[in-house]
Symmetry: C3
Amino acid sequence: MMLSELAGRIGASLRGDGSREITGCATLESARPGELSFLSNPRYQGQLRTTRAAAVVVSADYAEDTPEGCATLVAEDPYYAFRQALIALHGFRVQPEVGISPESFIHHTAVVGELCTVRPFAYLAPRSRIGDRTILYPGVYVGKKAVIGNDCVLHPGVCVYDGCVLGDRVVLHANTVVGQDGFGYATAAVGGQEPRHHKIPQVGNAVIHDDVEMGSNCSVDRATVGSTVVGEGTKFSDHVVIGHGAKIGRHNLFVAHVGIAGSTTTGDYVVMGGQVGVAGHLNIGAGVRIAASAKVMTDIPRGESWGGTPAAPLTEAKRIVLNQKRLPDMAAKLKAMEKRLKSLENRSG
Amino acid sequence: MMLSELAGRIGASLRGDGSREITGCATLESARPGELSFLSNPRYQGQLRTTRAAAVVVSADYAEDTPEGCATLVAEDPYYAFRQALIALHGFRVQPEVGISPESFIHHTAVVGELCTVRPFAYLAPRSRIGDRTILYPGVYVGKKAVIGNDCVLHPGVCVYDGCVLGDRVVLHANTVVGQDGFGYATAAVGGQEPRHHKIPQVGNAVIHDDVEMGSNCSVDRATVGSTVVGEGTKFSDHVVIGHGAKIGRHNLFVAHVGIAGSTTTGDYVVMGGQVGVAGHLNIGAGVRIAASAKVMTDIPRGESWGGTPAAPLTEAKRIVLNQKRLPDMAAKLKAMEKRLKSLENRSG
Amino acid sequence: MMLSELAGRIGASLRGDGSREITGCATLESARPGELSFLSNPRYQGQLRTTRAAAVVVSADYAEDTPEGCATLVAEDPYYAFRQALIALHGFRVQPEVGISPESFIHHTAVVGELCTVRPFAYLAPRSRIGDRTILYPGVYVGKKAVIGNDCVLHPGVCVYDGCVLGDRVVLHANTVVGQDGFGYATAAVGGQEPRHHKIPQVGNAVIHDDVEMGSNCSVDRATVGSTVVGEGTKFSDHVVIGHGAKIGRHNLFVAHVGIAGSTTTGDYVVMGGQVGVAGHLNIGAGVRIAASAKVMTDIPRGESWGGTPAAPLTEAKRIVLNQKRLPDMAAKLKAMEKRLKSLENRSG
């Protein structure tokens, strides 16, 4: 695609030779002549001067910093503009051809929408339902009475348990599980026996709203009663675990290995870094940002940024870390002061 | 079901109108007229006064706190009583019909007990064996010579490696894996080559005792020699990982993302919160409770409660957290004292 | 096998009766007469004196410490020598018979090497390719144009996404996923709508080099552009997650639940303990060792050992932990000193 055409398509203003052909996208470091790159994270600013890319998408601040011979595409939001370029030049994954494989298993009471793709070894249980244009990769399992919307993509090995509900355009990556039993047991010594953990039937379900995407190997528990909910537009990376009865808001972003315990709720636009843990029965307000690996033990008011273990407002968490580093100095100073105090006491004795 | 009948079934004493019809169970907050709820966690005490439930299961302490028109079922252990009500009103999951699907693969040397259910795309390797009434969901893999007891339920995508053993009534949720190779390598520079990690054959197995239940996406390593063991009645939430040669005791409860390194043992009735990590070759005594996200580096004597990173007895861990918060104050006080000390020294100089 | 023959095979020098028959390998604690054991971790030194093993592999330091009647095999590297004995006596897993199951699905454009094993319900997408002697267990998915080398073993439920590349002798344990979409979204309010997370096409792939082994339920993201890379000879335990665009070096060892965020690189021979987290866009030098559960927020120079949260050089991390334990004492001392200061001030008043 000609650079000038690409600039138009992604809404960027072009500085430099618009007649060159752009063949694909790459990082600043790996780009070869003919390729388009971008700068969004200032950490990579140094690479801007040495890139071999044919053109780079940048914000106005960096418009003068590209090397000679490298065209510049100035965009208000370079990351979003680069995304548009990726779509224009590469597009999204080409999905398998539409059609129902005879090597899949579709129960005769299951309902399959129009133009669906069901690959070999995918399985639709009795009275399950999938909407139009939905794609089930090999090894996908859709449980009894589960309902899956239109334009969903379930990658290989995804399992949706009985009675769970997915909205439209939901994407679940390989081996993600929705609706396994929540972790509910009543520990009791019944009839004079030793205490045992008696299973509580998990009679609720899990409901995943429109435009949710989850990475691979995620797990969303079904609720004991009612529903575990993941709100519209929310995105999980890999290995995220959501406990039973949790209500995750709209447009949340959870990085890998996040764990949310049962009955906790989050507002809209909550962001959690990797390996964050949130205890059960808490309320995390809208717009909250939690730094990677923080462990949250209390409610967090809307809009705040937290971090640390146990988690605290980010400024406090940072001060604790800073003071931890000063601890050896403080201990030494304390010791020296005691000596001076002793000496004063002796003199005044 | 009539409330009076339900009260009898769950062993609770009824206060209020026993003739009303109960249609199902719900949380205090979401219950609609006709539904039964419960109070066990005091955190939700406030919801007791505003619930629209037809009846609530409570302990004697809260017997007077239900709103007008709401009947009360007083039980010694309200959580267990509510569990009994869930079973009476909803029951456990209805499993697929008994029978062997012609679309499964059962090796001719495999042994299948009576009244088993083997769904399409489930796989039984040579000389594997499953007991009576055991259910294999689609995509389940049972390896060579693996032995699975009676009344087990293996959800979709579960994998039991060769030679592993499951007792009776074991439930494994979707995509859980039992018996993959332990993480064993001997790092050595052989024949003057650069050092490499040489794989140690993992010739042991994993043994899961009766009444164990694991959530989705769990992993239990097989032992290098001998067995990795998970004791009777133990329950895992999702994404729990057990290292090779570990011996997990009876009736343990591990919340999601717990990781136990190799050769560690736990006694009976150990409880670990989410994201707890335990180093290898340790002994965790019976009845130990470990708070969520604690990282355990040492043995823990029986009956103790630990938390923190590195983990310490809970009272010590809490004091450390408290003192961390006071650190800025301590630093300020130290500075002020030094000034006063200086002034005294000057005067006495 | 006769002990004297075994000694020769594993390159150990024999002290004691070489004519005895060795039937298998076991730990010091569980070994029965006729079995071989070993001592490598000094933690188990006490068990050396009481073992019932017929013979024990030890280093020269412990050559005199075996009980009477127990032969000794002295080796420079007892762990490696024991590994050789395990191979001699037990061998590695016996794989299923070579052959293509008629119950697998192999697209007519897929290319299968010589002497491959493809079990029932394994799936090869269009234009995928697997090398000679490679083994696909049931439920394995190989995506479009994915390329898998010679002598690989993909255990049940493994998923390799479209366009990903595996070298030779790669082993992936059950339900591990390679090449799912990286966690890339451009958050933008387009056309006056509320902000949404707009998916960035992940048009790169994941490349796994020769001799890599991963445990069960691991996840390696594909890159946005270019490749996520796992270097030759690197080994992962279970539930390891690698973010998009990360470049993992050669001969790394990552224990379970490790998470590496996007675009981070590691040098060769890096070791990370369980539950370690590494933030994105960092460089971890060759030979770095990171203690279990550490959270890494900065680059680490080659050869260093780090630990703690946030991670710091190990000596510093240990000092912080030590000082944390002394905090209550420091607080008490501070209080006492203030009293003494006050008293001095009064006197000198």
